[in-house]
């Protein structure tokens, strides 16, 4: 079981002071300590963006892939060794722009992955361009006259694409986010946590204050198994009407649980040597 100290690395975070990534990093570490996730049972795949630097700040075996391509890498890892807890740290640009096609298909296939979207509605690492979750009318260096695109709702897209655990969190509520991450990983299937976080440097609209003022947690009376209700709830985005918590959960079997090759043991534990090939060659004679 790792302690927080075990998870520290020689690199200290280089995010801007107040960046939501600090809190997400803390929540993930807290979840690791509480659940005993470490280099013997877990792996982190990260995309490219401010979120991606997280791999330098957690002592957890990681793969930093290419911009937008973390999810297919994570899929390959999960299929090769489905006993691993596989986390994907991705951003709104990384996951929904460059990686949109992969996100949709991973949800549809319901691989047992935990996708954490660092959603700050801006491209931070490239100094402030509009992103797929930036609101209509948003001003940035790439849309100086105001964003004409309509934003994607990651929660809605995830539910529509077939993800079986879809939640939304707010970065700086570290205790609650820690809990969501644990629940997401415990869920057998494609889990998405859209984590709202401010980019303190480039996004002056979605600030800590904005999120603290306008978000609320879904109550116990909310039925997370009702997909239509989850869709409806996911479309709400107004003053004081941004819901947090688990929008949708269904226990449809995960992709990996339906593969006979993985029934007994992970793929990589199969013997490699194919001594007897002759009866296969006979099929070709």
């Amino acid at each position: 079981m790792p302690t927080l100290a075990d998870l520290s690395t020689p690199c200290s975070p280089n995010w801007c002071p107040g960046c939501g990534d600090f809190a997400i990093w803390a929540a993930l570490k807290n979840a690791m300590v509480r659940q005993g996730w470490d280099n013997t049972n877990s792996v982190l795949v990260a995309g490219i963006g401010c979120h991606g630097h997280i791999i330098n700040f957690i002592k957890l075996t990681s793969f930093e892939g290419l911009h937008g391509r973390a999810i297919p890498v994570a899929t390959g890892i999960k299929l090769a060794n489905h006993r691993l807890n596989v986390f994907v740290s991705t951003g709104d640009g990384d996951c929904l722009a460059e990686g949109g096609n992969h996100f949709v298909h991973a949800c549809r296939r319901n691989h047992d992955l935990t996708i954490l979207i660092h959603d700050n509605a801006i491209y931070g690492l490239t100094t402030g361009q509009t992103s797929p979750t930036s609101p209509h009318g948003f001003h940035s260096k790439s849309t100086p006259a105001g964003n004409i695109d309509e934003p994607i709702s990651p929660v809605t897209l995830a539910i529509a694409s077939g993800a079986t655990f879809v939640a939304r969190g707010y970065a700086s509520d570290i205790p609650k986010l820690t809990e969501l991450i644990i629940q997401a990983n415990d869920h057998q299937g494609l889990s998405v946590v859209d984590i709202l976080q401010p980019c303190v440097t480039f996004n002056k609209d979605y600030t800590h204050e904005f999120f603290q003022k306008n978000t609320y947690y879904l109550g116990n009376n909310y039925d997370r198994t009702n997909r239509e209700a989850a869709f409806k709830k996911s479309l709400e985005w107004d003053a004081q009407k941004i819901a947090l918590g688990i929008f949708y959960e269904s226990n449809k079997p995960s992709y990996e649980s339906q593969l006979p090759q993985l029934a007994e043991k992970p793929l990589i534990e199969n013997p490699l040597a194919r001594i007897e090939m002759n009866d296969l060659f006979k099929h070709f004679s």
Binding site: G18, F22, A23, W25, A26, V200, H208, E209
Partner: protein, 82 residues
């Protein structure tokens, strides 16, 4: 408004200027032994903290509004924010 409390940790005197704190929680992230958010999303200092001074400094430096003030006990000099 009550005076912001000063807590002695190692050779540092640490204080959170409550009015400046916006609940970003990056200080909590960097030094969970020292900082925690209260019910009003404001950072408060845990007197039990045994965290290393340079990690507390890192936590202070991670605050977006420079709400964390650190004074060196021996020299009496304010070391953050500079």
């Amino acid at each position: 408004m009550a005076e912001d409390k000063v807590v002695q940790i190692g050779k540092y005197k640490v204080k959170v200027i409550r009015d400046l704190c916006i609940g970003a929680a990056s200080c909590v992230a960097v030094s969970p032994d020292t900082f925690q958010l209260d019910s009003e999303n404001k950072a408060i200092i845990k007197e039990t903290s045994k965290d290393a001074e340079d990690n507390i400094m890192l936590a202070a430096q991670s605050c977006p509004t420079k709400a964390i003030v650190i004074v060196d006990n021996e020299t009496g000099e304010q070391v953050w924010p500079v």
